[in-house]
Symmetry: C5
Subunit: 354 residues, 5 copies
Amino acid sequence: MPKLIKQRSKKAGLAPGTLVHIGEKKTEAPKITIMNYDEVHFQEKEMKTIEECFIFKDHPAVTWINIDGLHQVEILGKLGDCYGLHPLVLEDILNTDQRPKMEDYGEYVYIVLRSLEVNGSSNEIGSEQISLILGPNFVFSFQEKEGDTFCPIRERIRNDKGRIRKMGADYLAYALLDSTIDNYFIIFEKLGDKIEFLEDKLINQPTPETLQTIHGLKKEMIFLRKAVWPLREVVGSLERGESSLIQTSTRVYLRDLYDHTIQVIDTIETFRDMVSGMLDIYLSSVSNRLNVVMKVLTIIATIFMPLTFIAGIYGMNFKYMPELEWRWGYPVIWFILVFIGGSMLIYFKRKKWL
Amino acid sequence: MPKLIKQRSKKAGLAPGTLVHIGEKKTEAPKITIMNYDEVHFQEKEMKTIEECFIFKDHPAVTWINIDGLHQVEILGKLGDCYGLHPLVLEDILNTDQRPKMEDYGEYVYIVLRSLEVNGSSNEIGSEQISLILGPNFVFSFQEKEGDTFCPIRERIRNDKGRIRKMGADYLAYALLDSTIDNYFIIFEKLGDKIEFLEDKLINQPTPETLQTIHGLKKEMIFLRKAVWPLREVVGSLERGESSLIQTSTRVYLRDLYDHTIQVIDTIETFRDMVSGMLDIYLSSVSNRLNVVMKVLTIIATIFMPLTFIAGIYGMNFKYMPELEWRWGYPVIWFILVFIGGSMLIYFKRKKWL
Amino acid sequence: MPKLIKQRSKKAGLAPGTLVHIGEKKTEAPKITIMNYDEVHFQEKEMKTIEECFIFKDHPAVTWINIDGLHQVEILGKLGDCYGLHPLVLEDILNTDQRPKMEDYGEYVYIVLRSLEVNGSSNEIGSEQISLILGPNFVFSFQEKEGDTFCPIRERIRNDKGRIRKMGADYLAYALLDSTIDNYFIIFEKLGDKIEFLEDKLINQPTPETLQTIHGLKKEMIFLRKAVWPLREVVGSLERGESSLIQTSTRVYLRDLYDHTIQVIDTIETFRDMVSGMLDIYLSSVSNRLNVVMKVLTIIATIFMPLTFIAGIYGMNFKYMPELEWRWGYPVIWFILVFIGGSMLIYFKRKKWL
Amino acid sequence: MPKLIKQRSKKAGLAPGTLVHIGEKKTEAPKITIMNYDEVHFQEKEMKTIEECFIFKDHPAVTWINIDGLHQVEILGKLGDCYGLHPLVLEDILNTDQRPKMEDYGEYVYIVLRSLEVNGSSNEIGSEQISLILGPNFVFSFQEKEGDTFCPIRERIRNDKGRIRKMGADYLAYALLDSTIDNYFIIFEKLGDKIEFLEDKLINQPTPETLQTIHGLKKEMIFLRKAVWPLREVVGSLERGESSLIQTSTRVYLRDLYDHTIQVIDTIETFRDMVSGMLDIYLSSVSNRLNVVMKVLTIIATIFMPLTFIAGIYGMNFKYMPELEWRWGYPVIWFILVFIGGSMLIYFKRKKWL
Amino acid sequence: MPKLIKQRSKKAGLAPGTLVHIGEKKTEAPKITIMNYDEVHFQEKEMKTIEECFIFKDHPAVTWINIDGLHQVEILGKLGDCYGLHPLVLEDILNTDQRPKMEDYGEYVYIVLRSLEVNGSSNEIGSEQISLILGPNFVFSFQEKEGDTFCPIRERIRNDKGRIRKMGADYLAYALLDSTIDNYFIIFEKLGDKIEFLEDKLINQPTPETLQTIHGLKKEMIFLRKAVWPLREVVGSLERGESSLIQTSTRVYLRDLYDHTIQVIDTIETFRDMVSGMLDIYLSSVSNRLNVVMKVLTIIATIFMPLTFIAGIYGMNFKYMPELEWRWGYPVIWFILVFIGGSMLIYFKRKKWL
C-alpha cells in the first residue's frame, strides 16, 4: 500500500512554479528517448542531454520525447524554456501526487494520469504518475521510472503497424492514454481473482486474517478510485474536442477510450460493492460461529449440571438417608441419571440445536 | 455467477481496431440468417457465407442479418468492409464484455446491450451480449450463441402481424430491443419468486445457508445493475431522436420502451432494497437466537449452581456438623433445595425469560 | 403486501400495442358512468355499453367517462378507435403495474398514477392503478375496481360547488389527481400511528415479532416510494404547462398539487428514516438484553464456583485433614463461605453489575 | 416531539381553496397588530377586527399586519377578499403543516417557513408555521400563537434604529425572515450542548437510557431537516430576485440571509453526522462491556472447574485409593491446587485478560 | 476539538450590519501591518492606528493591510468607512464562524476561508477564520490572531522573489489563498500519520481507547469537511473569472489553486473512508475476541463438567456400590477420566477450536 499522502510539506511556502521533485527517486539517471516519425520517415534515438532534442522543435513530423525519471529537475526546466511551457505545468509534472487532470494551455494540452502496477513481492497495487504534453507536432511523456507500458506503441511506430504513422501527435497521445488504461484491465483481472479467492475462503473457512485481507482490499479500492474516477472527466473533455489540437478523426478513438474509462470505473464500483458485501458476510459468519460455540456450551452445561447435582445429593453425609441403604439404590440412580441425560439430548435434537 | 471480469489481457498492447474475439466460444459454427421484407414482399434465408448477404446491400426493402456466434472473426471483417463499418465497432462487437451503449456514426447507429437468461441447472442468471447495427435500410444483429429471444419477431415478420412490415429498419431495431428488454421481466419474475421464498425461510427457519443465498442474490443484483442501468441512457438518447435514422413515427414506441427500461431499473432497485433488508433481518435473528441460547444456559446455571453448592456443603466430612445428625436433616435439605429451585423458576417467569 | 412484480410474462413476445389485461380481475362487470356538464347544464348516466358514450364526442361541454374494471378489453378497444387513442396508451391502461407517468400525445394527455388503500383485514397497504386521459373537452378515468376516491368530486359537480363547473376538462383532471393524492394523507396518518405505536413497543418491550413488523414496514416503504416518487415528475411537467391542454388558470392549482406531492414524498422519506432508525434501536436493545443475561450468569458463576470448590475440598476423604477434626471447623467454614460470597456481591455492586 | 403527521384527513374531499384550520388551537382570541411607517411617520395599533386594517390598503407607507392565532377562519377570508389573495394562499396559511416554500403570485409573494422553539418543560424542539405575504407596500405575517420572535424588529421600527424605516416592505419581509432564521442558532446552541453532554456520558458511562436519548436526537434531526432544508430554495429564489417586488438594494441582505440558511443546513448535517456516529460508539461500547463480562466468567470458570474436579476426585469413596492414606496427601493436594490456580492466573495475565 | 457551534446568540435580534465580534479574544492588541509595493518600490510598516493606513488609499501601487486580532471593532468600522465596505462584510469578518465563501461587491471581492493548525499540546486540529478583501489596488487580510501562514509571502515581497512584485493585487490575494491552502497539506500529513499509526494498533492490539480515538478522528473529519468543502465553490468562482478584479494572467494560477483544493477535498474523503473502515474492523475484531474467549470457556466447561460428574458419582455414599470395592476401581476410573478428557481435546483440535 502506498503512503496515503505524499510529503508536500517541503514545498509549502515556496513561490508557485518553483521546481521541486516530490516523490521518491525511483530511477538512477533519467533516460531520454526520442522518436520522430511521419508516414514515410522514422528515427529513434536515446539522448544523453535534453538539449539534443531541441533540433526537432520545428520539424514537421511528429516528435515524441519520453523521459523516465524526474529527479533531475533542470532537464524539465530546459525543456520548458525551449517549448514555452508554463512553470505550473513543470511543477505539476514533478509533484507526483497529482490527481488525473487535463489542462488546455491553448498551444499545448497537459494531461496527467496514473499507471497501475502490481508490486511483485508484496502483491500490492502501486501507481506511478504519467504526464503527457500534447502540442501541434509533439508529445512529451514523463514517467517516474522506466516502464514497459509504452513498449507496444514503440513497436507499432517502428513497424508501421496500424494507422499510428499516418496520423498526428493527437493520435499518439491517444495511443499512450489507451495503452495506460488498457493496462488497468490486467491489474483488474488479478484483483478479480484475488476477490473471488477470498470469497471462497470466506464461506469455507474464515479466519481473523480474512478480515485483514478484506480491510486491505477496501483500502486498495479507495486508492484505485482516487486514481481512476477523475479520468472520466479527463477523457471526456478530450473527446468533446474542447482543444483545437485534437483532430476530428481522432475523436472517434477518444470516444472508444471514454467507454473504456467508464468500464474501468464500473469495474471498480463492482469490486467495491463485492468487498463491502464480504465484510457483512464475515461479520455474520462470526456471529454464526459464536452461536455454534454457545450452543455446545449450553448443551454440555444443561446436561451435566443437573446430573452433578444429583450425584452431589447422594454424596451428602446425613445420617438418615434411606435411599443410601436400599439394595437397588445405586442402579436406580444410574437409571435416573441416564434418563435425565437422554431426555435432554432428545429435547435439544427437537430444538435443532444438535 | 459469471466471472466478474472477462479476460481482456490478451488484447492489451494491440492497436485499437484489431479484431480479437473476447469471450468463450459458445456455439459451433456461426449461423447467418437473413430476412428481407417490405409491405408486400418477404424473403428469408440461411446463408453459408457472409458474402451471399451483400447482394441485398442496395435493396430498398429492409434487410435484417442476424449472426449467432462471433468466434469466426473474418465474417465480421468482411461485413465491415462491405458496409463501411468503423473498425472500433467491429472490435466492440467481438469484445463481449461491453456495457450497454449507443453510438451514432452518422450513416449507422451501433447499439449494444445484454440479454439475460437463467441457467437451467444452477438456476443462476447469465448474460449474453447483443449488438445491433441500424442503417437506413438494414439491421444487423449479433449474438454470442443461438437464442430464441428474436423468434417472436421473426414470426411477426413472416405472418405480417402488427405494423412491423409496414415500417422501416428503425422499427425493426426497436422491436429487437423491446423483445430483449421484455425478456428481462420473465427473469425478474423468477428472481422475485426466489426472493419471496427466501424471505419466508428467513423468518421461519434461518440457517447459515440462508446467509450464503442472500450473499449470492446480492452479487446477482450487482451484476444485473451493471447490465441494466446504462440502458436508460441508451434508450433515452434513441428516443430523443438524436439520430436521423430514427423516424418520428417510431419515437412514440421508443418512449414506451424507455418506460419499460425505467421499470426494469426500478424493479432492480426494489430487489436490491429487499435483499439488503434481508441481511439486517438475518443478523437480527441470529442475535435473537443467541439470546435464547444464553437464557437457557443462564437459567440452568442459576438454578443448579446454588443447589450443587448446598449438596456440596453436606458432603463435607467435618466431624462436628450437627445437621448431619438430625433426624429430619435430609428431608429438610430436600425441602430447601426444592424451595430455592422453585423460587428461581418463578423469578425467571416474572422476568419473562421463560 | 402486494406481489413484488406482476406477471407480465404472458405479454412477452406479443407485438407492442396488443391489448391484454395484466392484473387480477377485481370487479365483476365493468361499470361505465358518464357525466356531461358545463356552467349551466348537467347530465349523469350509467351506461350499459361504451358505444352509448360516443354521442358526447363533439359536445362542447366537459364529458367525463369513468370506467371501473378493466378486464373487458374490447371496451377499451372501441373507445380508443372512437377517440383516436394510440394503441400503446390502451396497452398501458391495461398493464396495471405502470409506474406513474405523464405522456403528451398532442391531442390528449395520458396520465397514470396509483391510488392507495389500506386492506381492511390484514391492515396492509395496497395500490390500484388509475389512468386518466385528458382531451380538449373530455376526461376518461380508468380504475381497476369500483372505488370511492372520486365520489366527492361527483358531489361537487352535481351540486355545482366550488369552481369545478365553471372550468374546463383540465380542471376536472386536476381535481381527480388532487383527490387521489389527498387520499394518500389518510393512509399516511394510519401509517404514522402504526410507526409511533411500534416505537413505543420497541422501547418498552421488544420481541422477535417487533423485528418482523419493522421488516414489514420497511417493505411497505419500498412499495410506497415506488408508487409515489415518480409523481413529482408527473405533476411537475403538468404544472410547467408543457401541454397546451392545460389552461393558465389551472396552473396555479397544479402548483398547489405539486406542493402536496412534495409533501407526500417528504413524509415517505421521514417514515423511511424513522423505520431504519428503529432497526438500529432494536439491534442495540437485543445486545443490551444479552449483556444483562450474561451479567446474571457471570455473577452466579463467580459466586458459587469458589464456594462449591471449598465445599468440595472438605468433602475429600484424606485420612489426615486436621481441619475436619477441629471443634469449630464447620462454623468457621460457614463463616469463610459467607465472607467470600458477600465480598463478591459487594464487588459486583461497586462495578454496577447489580 | 411533535406528531409526525398532522391530521389532514378532515380536509380530504373538500374543494381546493376551502378554508379549514388544520392544527391545534394554540391561542385564545387571534391578536391583530398593525404597524404603518415610513422614514418620517410611524403608527402602531392593536385592532379588534380585521376590517379596521383596510383603511391602510392604499396608504403609500409600509403597512405590516401581524396576526397571531389562526383558528378564526373568517378573519383570513375578509383579508383575502380585501387584498385579492388567492384562496389557495389562504388555505396554505391555515394548513399549518406546510413545508417552507415561496410562491410568486405577481402582485404579491407568499412565503411560508417554520420557527423553532424549545419546549420549556420537556426540553423538546417544537415548530410553528410562519406565513408571510409581501406586497408592494404591505407585509402580512401569520403566526399560530403569540411569539416574541418579531419583538426586536418592532423595537427597531419604533426607535428608527438601523435602516428599516428608510427601506420598503421587501426589507421588512427580509427582516422578519432574518429574525426567524437567526432564532435557529439559539436552538442549535442548546442542541449542540445536549449533543456534547451526551457524548461525554456515552464515553464515561453509557446506559440503555443513553440509547433512547440518541434515538430521540435522531428523530429531532429528521424533524429539523424537514423544517430547514427547503429554506435554501426559498431564500435562494428570493435572492435571485425572481420577483419584481424585491428591490436591488435588498438583494445584498438576502444574499447574507442565504449564507445564514446554508450555515443552518450545514449545522444540521454536522449534528446528524455526530449523532449517527454516537450510535456506532454506543454499539461498540456495549460489545466491549460484553467482552469484559465474558472474560470474568471465563477466568472464574477456567480456574475453579479443574480445582473442583480434583477435589471431587479425592471425595470418591473407592476402597483402595493410596493417596488418601499418605501422611502428606492433604498438604500435597493443597500445593497442587494452588499451583494450578496460580498458573492459570499467570496465563491470563500474559494474555492480557486481567 | 473546537466547539461545534459558536455562540451567536448575543447577536440575535440585532439589526443586520451591527458590528459585534463573535469568537474568543485570541490576541492582546490588534496588530496592523502594511505593505506597499510595485515592481520598483517597496515599503513595509507596522501601524499604531488604522487611520495611518488611509494615505495609501489612492496610491497606484499594491497596498496590503494585514490585521491580526479582531476584537477592537472600531478599527474595522473606520476602515469600512474609508474604503466604502458594506456593513454586512464587516459583520462577516467579525463573526468568526463563517463557512468559506466568496462575495463579489463589484468594487471589491470579499473572500473568507479557514486556516488550519494543530494545537501543540492536545494534538487536536483547530481552525481560524481568515478574511480577505481584494480591491483594484489593495488587499486587506484579517486574522483572529497573529500567525505565520503569510510569512513566506512577506519574504517573497521583501526580496522580490518570483513574480509577485510584478503582478497586481489579485495575484497577492491568490498568493495568500495558496499559502493558506498549501498549509492544509502539512496538517494532512500529520493526520495521515495518525491514521496509519492507529491502523497498525487496531490490527495488533485494539483497546477501548482505540475506539475513542477513532471517534475523535471521525469528529475531526466532520469538522474538516465543513471547513474545506465550500472552498471548491470559492476558488472555482474566482477561477471562472466572474469578477473583473481578477486579471486573465492570474487565472492560470487560480486554476492551479483549484486543483489543490480538489486534492484537499479528495484527501479528506479518503481519510473519511479510511476512518469509517476502521470502525468496522474494530467491531469485527471485538467480535473475534469474544469468540476466542467463548471458545476457551466452552472447552474448559466441556472437558471438566463430565469429569466432575463422574467423580461426583463415586463420591456418593450408597451402601451397595460394587465398583468401590474393586481392587483396580480407582486406577480404572483415572483411566476413564483421562480417556474422556483426551478425546474431548482431540475433538476440539479437529474442530479447529484449539
